[in-house]
Symmetry: C2
Subunit: 96 residues, 2 copies
């Protein structure tokens, strides 16, 4: 597994902020756009990048699509970073 798409998605401050907002629970694109004072179209682009990177899920209910954190890829990142920080002198490394 590669982390390319994940790290690319995380490299943008708006996308990181979206993840922080979704930490509190699912939100629609409109609710997110309101937080940023921007259009739904702008937010939708960021949401599609996050979704393609596996960082969020979407679910259509009625008129709206609701976005929520998908923590599984983030847990892989967390484990990889923890592995680097917990260096103990051997050269084994987690699969990346």
């Amino acid at each position: 597994m590669g982390f390319e798409a994940t790290f690319k998605a995380l490299g943008d401050p708006t996308r990181r902020r979206i993840l922080e907002l979704l930490r509190a629970g699912e939100k629609s694109a409109g609710e997110l756009a309101a937080q940023f004072g921007t259009t739904n179209a702008t937010i939708s682009h960021h949401l599609s990048v996050l979704r393609d990177a596996g960082l969020i899920d979407d679910e259509k209910r009625g008129k709206y699509i609701y976005y929520s954190l998908n923590t599984s890829v983030m847990e892989d990142i967390y484990a990889w970073v923890a592995g680097l920080l917990g260096g103990n002198g051997d050269e084994t490394e987690p699969p990346v």
Copy 2:
């Protein structure tokens, strides 16, 4: 503080592998290049990206420059990811 340069640096598999190798302790560019079967020049480019992102330090000793992990930025990433994974329903977030 922004994570742009950090996440960009981490988006490359060779650079992630360099960090994994440095986890075991400092290495020269030549030692790293030998691990990848590539030239020092190729590795030096990746090392400069990692250094500019604050992820590694370098120290010249004698004829060689030795590279080592700088964990402080990585600890910031770790804390940010941990904050996302530890979501508890409020919307506070760490400074990014």
